[in-house]
Structures are given as structure tokens and as C-alpha cells.
């Protein structure tokens, strides 16, 4: 009795070794008596061999080092970004406290604040007194620019001389 030829999917599944053993046995039996299917299996075997071939996938020898260098560069970048944020927050705090301390009449304010109860009223008084004093006292405070410059220089030195060399050597 003639058995039908093996289907394409049957041959592939046979070579993948995903068939139940009963199916495998009947396929093997068919292959012994059918040259056509045997040829089909042989050409599929060539295809599978080429697909399994793990050659020509080589990365350069210093690939790992290159990746490490890049991730460290990014880590340093993130740290610098963080430092910049800290600097701006500090600068803002200094600027605000400078304005308050210089232009707000503290004694006057303290006296008025005692007489009021709500937080909102206290804030209104604080802002109003700041503006009242602003007109009389506004002037160029050179010393604050110098201090800001020294602060920036300090951060720059910290970044270049301390952080960068540290991250460069760690990988």
C-alpha cells in the first residue's frame, strides 16, 4: 500500500524533533522507502545546518570596555545634572533670603505679625513690607556676585578634579 508523501510541515517538525515518537517512527519508515521525501529531508537538513551556524557574530575585543565607558559617561552626566539642580536651588534660597534680610524690616514685621493671626495675612504683610523697603535700599551688591562666582568656580573644580577622574578610573 502506498503511503502519501511527507508534508513540508511534517519534515520540518521531524527535524525540529518536536513530534511524538510514534510519528517519528512512521516518518523514518517512510523515508526508508521513499527517495523523494529523503531528498526533501536532506535539503531541509542543509537549511537547518545553515540556520544553526553560529559563525560571524563576533564583536570587537574591547566591546565590553566601550559599553562600560559609555554608561559611566552617562552616570557622570546625570550627577552633573543633579549638581546643577542643587546649585540652582541653593542660589534661589540664597537670593530669596538675601532679599528678605536686606529689604524687610524684621523688627517692624515681627511686631505686626504678632498682632495678626492668619498665615495668609502674615504673608501679605511680609510681601508688602519687602516692597516698601525696596525703594529706599535698592543698590548694587557687588559682594553677592563675587560670592556666586566663587560658588560656581567651586562646583566646577569639584566636577573636573574630583568627580570626573573618579569615574574615569572605576571601570
Amino acid at each position: 500500500m502506498l503511503t502519501p508523501h511527507l508534508s513540508d510541515d511534517q519534515i520540518q517538525a521531524f527535524l525540529d524533533d518536536t513530534l511524538p515518537s510514534s510519528d517519528k517512527l512512521s516518518i523514518k519508515a517512510h523515508l526508508q522507502s521513499c527517495a523523494e521525501c529523503e531528498r526533501a529531508v536532506a535539503s531541509y537538513q542543509d537549511v537547518f545546518e545553515a540556520l544553526d551556524c553560529d559563525e560571524n557574530f563576533d564583536l570587537s575585543k574591547n566591546f565590553t570596555r566601550k559599553v562600560l565607558r559609555q554608561t559611566h559617561k552617562q552616570a557622570v552626566g546625570a550627577l552633573q545634572f543633579g549638581l546643577l539642580h542643587i546649585f540652582f536651588i541653593l542660589a534661589a534660597v540664597i537670593a530669596v533670603s538675601h532679599v528678605l534680610l536686606t529689604y524687610v524690616n524684621i523688627e517692624n514685621f515681627a511686631g505686626t505679625a504678632q498682632a495678626t493671626s492668619g498665615a495668609f495675612e502674615t504673608l501679605v504683610i511680609l510681601v508688602r513690607s519687602a516692597f516698601e523697603n525696596l525703594g529706599d535700599k535698592i543698590q548694587f551688591d557687588g559682594i553677592y556676585f563675587i560670592l556666586a562666582f566663587i560658588g560656581l568656580l567651586g562646583l566646577f573644580v569639584l566636577d573636573r578634579l574630583v568627580l570626573k577622574p573618579h569615574f574615569k578610573t572605576s571601570p
Binding site: 531541509y44 542543509d46 545553515a50 540556520l51 560571524n56 557574530f57 564583536l59 570587537s60 566591546f63
Partner: protein, 186 residues
């Protein structure tokens, strides 16, 4: 997921450079398989591989341990390659290309039949000409020993589709091989 892998990831997240080095060494072959098969331009391949590991490093804190690390990393690699191809407007996948598969090699070094008659090398040349999704599937299945389910997670397509594409890709390669053999015989 085994505890060794978990430990390694924890160490990387703690900033241990040596742990990340082990991570790269462990998975560089997997990443190279995917990238080399999906990116035709050999000059860009190593840069793309590098991008994959940098992205993995940046996103490691978000890794939920719900899949194997290799599945997660392979997904990053495939997506990085697809982004690369999209940016360069290189064709990703279309059915027309499938039907009338044009075996023009994307490889850099031009292959001449006269220069090389080795079937294996010839077939590898044809693998490079398969549609990109087929190339990804045959690579993950044959070179990295992944199951349909894993490949389905990586490429975000149903497992049944993975299987049918895998069989179709191999059939295309075999048909090409038979065609060639007949040409030689004539």
C-alpha cells in the same frame, strides 16, 4: 528566574561595575545574534549592540523579574534594531516582499556564486535576504534555542504566528536551495 541572575541585577543596580561587566559578557552573544541578523550595515552593528546594553543599563531598575533576563534583553535588542531600521527608512516587513521574495543580499561584501560554492555559506547569504521579522525569528529559534512562547514575548506577536513564520522562512530557504540545485544540474 534563578537567584544568581537576581543577585547579579541587584549588584548592577547597586553600582557594581564588575557585575555589569559579567552581564555584558554573558549576553553579548545573544545581542550580537539579533543585531547582526537584523542590521545589514556591518559598520553600524557594533554601535547598535552598544546601544542595546546602554538601554538595558538605563532600564534595569524597571525590570520586574517576570520574564527571563534574556527574553527582556532580546526584546530591547529587537526594538533597538527596528528603531534603527525605521530611522533609516529601511523596509521592515511587507507581504509583497514575502510573496516575491527578492534574494538580493543586504550584506556588505558582495557575494559571487563563482567565488564560493559552499552551500552553507550560500544559505547564510539567503538568510540575510529574508524579511527582517523572519530573520529575527530564525535567529532566536536556531541560534539562541528559544521556544515559540519566548519569541512571541520578544516580538510581541502570537506564538502561532511565530511558528508559521518560522516554517515559512525555512520553506523559502529550502525552495531557493532546490532552485539552485536545479540550475546547477541544467
Amino acid at each position: 528566574m534563578d537567584t544568581e541572575e537576581k543577585q547579579l541585577i541587584k549588584q548592577i543596580l547597586d553600582g557594581d561595575t564588575r557585575a555589569f561587566k559579567i552581564f555584558i559578557e554573558t549576553y553579548r552573544r545573544l545581542v550580537a545574534h539579533i543585531v547582526f541578523r537584523m542590521v545589514a550595515n556591518s559598520a553600524d552593528r557594533e554601535d547598535v549592540c552598544q546601544d542595546v546594553f546602554v538601554k538595558a543599563y538605563q532600564n534595569l531598575h524597571g525590570f520586574q523579574f517576570q520574564s527571563k533576563i534574556s527574553t527582556w534583553l532580546a526584546r530591547i535588542a529587537c526594538n533597538t534594531c527596528l528603531n534603527y531600521l525605521e530611522k533609516r527608512r529601511l523596509p521592515l516587513f511587507d507581504d509583497r516582499a514575502l510573496e516575491e521574495m527578492n534574494f538580493v543580499s543586504h550584506n556588505d561584501d558582495p557575494y559571487t556564486e563563482a567565488a564560493d560554492s559552499d552551500i552553507n555559506r550560500l544559505l547564510r547569504h539567503y538568510i540575510d535576504a529574508l524579511p527582517v521579522l523572519f530573520r529575527a525569528i530564525v535567529t532566536l529559534y536556531h541560534l539562541d534555542g528559544m521556544k515559540y512562547e519566548e519569541i512571541s514575548q520578544i516580538l510581541e506577536i502570537p506564538a502561532g504566528t511565530v511558528k508559521s513564520y518560522l516554517f515559512r522562512a525555512r520553506r523559502m530557504l529550502r525552495e531557493k536551495l532546490v532552485e539552485l540545485e536545479q540550475e546547477v544540474l541544467c
